[in-house]
């Protein structure tokens, strides 16, 4: 009898423990208050964490004195959550023994052009300016740095800004209404006949004219995947028009060139100003020709000139120009202003850093195509079609004094120091982050990809430099269970 009582008590206890564990797991997954905190230590990668992944790829990491260091950039990690959250506040400990000037973290927002929303970890240029220049803070933590004190408030600066060429920005979207006072529209048809591979973005300018851009495409079928073509038109960062060409053929990788037809962007009555055109495609799509009635057309930051192009000339205003090729036939010496950029290896990015020519602009000359050109400025095929509405970026590539910058606008918080570690804080909007889709799982996953970019930490530069990343804490916030129930109830009503 006593034995039976003991067994019954044990049975009840064991099942209660199981119910308790299940309740705990469900509570953690639902996070009824809409908040969750996950931590991980990047310097001790042998400890497995479900929520925050270790740094990858492994060949850019090195164990020194039992501590993992990053010796090449970029490195990636993932964040996995059990439910959707809207914001992620990240606190990251790191050591920067070689005083590398710029470290940024980015959240993947779109996979077609690998678009990352970058936030600062540290920016040496701003750290120095904060100590040397006068600082004014805005209502939302924005920072205005002035060479000589002129503005008393951040809002006062926005109301009555100085000339654009005296301003640099960092992680801040300064809405400047860029206008060309001497611009005259023409009826002349402009053609870009150099084939371009993959995605790109460019600026164009409209004044008392209609927007008319015609693109013709080829599919080179190098990769076995679906190749849709999407063309977007933006004005002041707002999408105002979109065109799409679906891939109706079965995915093949037979290297056969197929004509994919044309897409046309055509709009009347557009306000005067700068418009951004974005082509979202994968690397199988070649833009064979662009015919435009617009006289201004400059490609933003990156351009893949496709195989078959010859004697290409481009103008850029960027002081950093990088080139890369995956085709051994495209190895060559590229002229960038007075300098030579020697492209003598495939799958490696070669860079020229040219402080002097920043304002004057540099002419780039290539003998043959299949080269990916990138930089911190815009690229234009024609001197007359050059347009650069962007404000200069305040980082280590900008010589503040040589460029006569008197004001810097930034959304930036300098890292704090604690026990030999630098501590940086950043906040990401993760509601629209890119999430992987699993074939055998219903709905999206909640796995997001982050990148850590350290532009001066190259593996192949023969410099023995490194960064150590320590503890990372990610505080997530989103809708509480009560808010979610209310939303469902009101939506149904």
């Amino acid at each position: 009898m006593l034995k039976n009582f003991f067994i019954q008590k044990l049975r009840v206890l064991l099942w209660l423990i199981l119910i308790g564990i299940v309740c705990f797991l469900l509570y953690q997954a639902i996070a009824p208050d809409g908040k969750a905190i996950y931590t991980y230590n990047f310097s001790q990668p042998n400890k497995v964490n479900y929520f925050i992944g270790e740094l990858k790829p492994k060949d850019r990491l090195k164990i020194i004195n039992n501590i993992q260091s990053v010796i090449g950039e970029p490195v990636y990690f993932f964040l996995r959550t059990l439910r959707k959250f809207d914001k992620a506040k990240i606190t990251l400990q790191y050591q920067n023994p070689d005083d590398l000037p710029l470290i940024e973290m980015g959240l993947l927002k779109g996979k077609i052009i690998w678009r990352y929303d970058l936030k600062p970890i540290t920016n040496k240029t701003l750290n120095q300016l904060i100590m040397a220049w006068s600082t004014v803070y805005g209502a939302n933590g924005e920072l205005l740095l002035e060479r000589e004190k002129k503005y008393q408030t951040f809002e006062g600066f926005l109301k009555n800004p100085p000339p654009i060429n005296e301003i640099a920005t960092y992680n801040y979207n300064f809405k400047n209404n860029y206008l060309l006072p001497d611009y005259q529209p023409t009826d002349k048809e402009n053609k870009i006949n150099q084939p371009l591979r993959g995605s790109y973005q460019f600026y164009t300018y409209i004044k008392n004219e209609k927007l008319d851009l015609e693109f013709s495409f080829f599919d080179i079928n190098k990769n076995k995947d679906n190749d849709p073509i999407e063309l977007n038109l933006y004005y002041q960062d707002k999408l105002i028009d979109s065109k799409r060409l679906d891939d109706k053929d079965a995915p093949v990788d037979d290297n056969k060139k197929i004509d994919r037809g044309k897409l046309r962007l055509n709009s009347n009555d557009l306000t005067e100003g700068v418009y951004k055109v974005e082509l979202l495609v994968n690397d199988d799509i070649i833009t064979n020709q662009i015919i435009s009635k617009q006289s201004k057309l400059s490609f933003i930051n990156r351009l893949w000139i496709a195989e078959g192009a010859k004697n290409i000339e481009l103008k850029t205003d960027g002081n950093i120009v990088s080139a890369q090729t995956i085709n051994p036939d495209s190895l060559q010496t590229i002229k960038v202003g007075d300098n030579n950029l020697i492209l003598d290896k495939t799958y490696q990015q070669f860079k020229i850093f040219n402080k002097k020519n920043f304002n004057a602009g540099a002419l780039i000359k290539l003998d043959k195509g299949d080269v990916i050109l990138s930089g911190n400025g815009v690229f234009s095929f024609d001197q007359n079609s050059f347009i650069e509405p962007n404000i200069k970026k305040a980082d280590n590539s900008l010589d503040i004094n040589a460029n006569k910058i008197n004001y810097v606008l930034a959304k930036y918080q300098a890292p704090k120091e604690n026990n030999g570690w630098q501590i940086a804080e950043m906040e990401f909007d993760i509601a629209d982050a890119y999430r992987e889709k699993n074939v055998f799982q219903l709905g999206d996953t909640n796995k997001m990809s982050f990148l850590i970019s350290i532009p001066d930490l190259k593996m192949d530069d023969n410099i023995d430099d490194k960064i150590i990343f320590g503890k990372i804490t990610i505080g997530l916030s989103g809708k509480s269970l009560l808010d979610k129930i209310k939303t469902i109830f009101y939506e149904k009503k």
């Binding site: 034995k3 067994i7 044990l10 049975r11 064991l14 099942w15 423990i17 199981l18 564990i21 299940v22 705990f24 797991l25 469900l26 953690q28 997954a29 479900y50 929520f51 996995r80 059990l82 799982q441 996953t445």
Partner: protein, 58 residues
């Protein structure tokens, strides 16, 4: 011995239930269990107890 067997049987039943509930939870909501518990250990304990019961049951 008999008492020990009965205790082990209770553990075996609970672990069987645990495995079933955890598997169903994982199917319905991927990660909900694996984020905190390694099911492999539950399976190992379940197997050990199962083998023990088979060998020493009356």
């Amino acid at each position: 011995m008999k008492k020990n067997n009965r205790v082990l049987k209770e553990f075996f039943y609970v672990l069987t239930g645990t495995l079933a509930i955890f598997s169903l939870l994982e199917l319905a909501w991927p990660g909900v269990v694996l984020a905190y518990i390694n099911i492999n250990w539950v399976l190992i304990f379940w197997l050990i107890i199962g083998i023990f019961l088979l060998l020493f049951s009356d």
